[in-house]
Symmetry: C2
Subunit: 236 residues, 2 copies
DNA sequence: CGTAACATTGATCTGGATCAAGTGCCGTGG
DNA sequence: CCACGGCACTTGATCCAGATCAATGTTACG
C-alpha cells in the first residue's frame, strides 16, 4: 500500500522502466527498492568497487566517468530523469557515477533487481531496448570523439543540449532564438567532448562573435541561429 | 530435421546466442534463418538503410563503421565468430557492417528474430548481457579514443589482439614470445584507433626498434616483451 | 615480371594542449 | 555597504603530437 503510493506519485512513473509494471508488480518492486537523494558532487558508485546497485533516476543529472591510470577523465555518458543506471549481471562496477546536480534516485540492490527482471519479461525487454539505444549513442560518440574538430564537437554538443532542453518547456518560436541553462560547467563539457576547458571556452567565444549564440551570463545560453550552428556540426 | 542438422554442425553452436535453445527450439529458428557467405570487403548492412537483418557470425571478422558527412570513417566495433550483429527494435541501420575477411553468417529477418526473442526469454537475457558488455566496451573505448596518446593506443590494441589470438591455439610459453597474424591492415587499425596509417606505422616501428615486438613480414607479429608492451598502455 | 595495393620513412604544418595571466561573479565577513 | 577571497571563465603566448603531403620500399598476385 505504502509502496504503491510511493510509486504512484513518482515523477517519472510512465517514462521509466517501471512504467511497464502493473500496480501489483510495483508493490513487489517496492519491497526491495527505496528512494534516496544525493547531493551535487556526491558519487553513487565508484569504478572498481563491487557492483551492488541499480537505480532509476527521478530528478537531476548524473555522469558516468571513466578514467586513465594517470588521472585523465572522460565522461562516457550522462543520465537523465527516467534513465536507468547500473550494470546488471556484472560483479564489478566499470565506471564511476557522480551527481552533476542534486538528484533523487530509486535504488535497488543489484541481485534483487535481477530477480525482478527475470520475473518480468516486459521490463527486461524495455531494458534491452534502452541498452541497445545507449550502445548506439556511445558508438556515435566514438565517431565524434575521434574524427571531428573541436568546433564540430562544441556545435554538436550545443545542438544536442538544445534538443534536450526543448523537450520540456520550450522558450521561443521554432526557428527563432532559444534560451536555456546548460546543466554543466565548462570543465564538464570539456570532459564530455574530450577537449580542454580552454578550447571549449574559445569555441564558445567564436560562436558568440559569429552571432550564432549569445551568452547572457551564468550558465544560460541562447541560440540565435540554429542553422549556422548545425552547419558547424560537420567537419572543418 | 534438415534444420536441426544444420545447427548441429554449427561451428559456434555452444558459444552463440542460439546455444541457449533446445533442439526443438532451434528447429523453429531454422525455419526463419539461413546461412550465407560474404566475401572480404563485401558489406552486409549499409548505414541509413532500412534495418531488416540480424545475424550470428559463424566465421571471419566483420567491422561496424560510422562515418562523418565528409567521408572520415571510424570503426566503432568488431564482430568475431559467435558474436551477434544487428539492432533489434530499430527501423533504420545506424552503422555500416562490412566483412574484413571472408565470412560465414547465419541471417534472420529482423521481425522474425524479434519474435524468437519474445518467445525465448533465455535468449533475450543472453542478448541483454551481451549488449551490456558491448556497451561497456564501447565506453572504455571512448576513454581511449579521447584521452590517450598514439603510443598507448597502439600498445593497447596489440595487447587486446594478443589476448584474442591467445584464446585459440596459443603459440609460445606464457611470458615468452607470442606470434600471431593481425586480421587487419594498417589502415583498418588506424580506423579503429582514430589515428592515421602513418602514425600507426611509426608506432609499430618504434616498438620494433625498442625490441618489444618483431614484424616477421606479412601481417604476422610477434610480441617478445609483453610487460614492456603493457607498460606502454598507460599515458605518455 | 609487372603492377597494384599496402607499408615504411621523411619533411612540414597545424589544431588543440599546455602554461600563464587576467576578468567577472558571487558569498562571507568585517 | 563595501572589501576580500575563491571559483569559474576568458584570453593570450607558446609548444608539440599527430595530421598531412610526398616519396620510396615491400609484398602479393595475375
Amino acid at each position: 500500500m505504502l509502496a504503491a503510493t510511493i510509486c504512484a506519485d513518482c515523477a517519472v512513473r510512465d517514462k521509466s522502466l517501471c512504467g511497464s509494471l502493473t500496480n501489483g508488480e510495483l508493490h513487489a518492486l517496492n519491497t526491495v527498492g527505496r528512494r534516496q537523494t544525493i547531493r551535487r558532487g556526491e558519487t553513487l558508485i565508484w569504478a572498481g568497487d563491487e557492483n551492488i546497485l541499480c537505480a532509476n533516476l527521478l530528478s537531476g543529472v548524473l555522469k558516468l566517468v571513466a578514467s586513465t591510470g594517470d588521472g585523465r577523465e572522460q565522461i562516457v555518458g550522462l543520465v537523465y530523469p527516467a534513465d536507468f543506471v547500473g550494470q546488471p549481471y556484472r560483479g564489478q562496477a566499470d565506471f564511476t557515477v557522480t551527481a552533476l546536480t542534486d538528484a533523487e534516485i530509486c535504488v535497488f540492490p543489484r541481485a534483487a533487481f535481477e530477480r525482478v527482471l527475470t520475473d518480468h519479461a516486459r521490463m527486461e525487454r524495455l531494458l534491452l531496448e534502452r541498452t541497445l539505444a545507449a550502445l548506439n549513442e556511445a558508438r556515435a560518440r566514438m565517431l565524434s570523439l575521434a574524427q571531428t574538430s573541436a568546433r564540430a564537437k562544441v556545435a554538436g554538443f550545443l545542438v544536442d543540449m538544445a534538443a534536450r532542453a526543448g523537450e520540456g518547456g520550450c522558450r521561443g518560436m521554432p526557428g527563432g532564438p532559444v534560451t536555456f541553462d546548460l546543466p554543466l560547467s565548462r570543465g564538464q563539457i570539456a570532459d564530455i567532448l574530450g577537449l580542454t576547458i580552454e578550447t571549449v571556452s574559445r569555441q564558445m567565444t567564436q560562436l558568440k562573435a559569429a552571432g550564432v549564440i549569445r551568452l547572457p551570463g551564468g550558465r544560460a545560453i541562447t541560440i540565435t541561429d540554429r542553422d549556422a550552428l548545425s552547419a558547424r556540426t560537420g567537419a572543418a
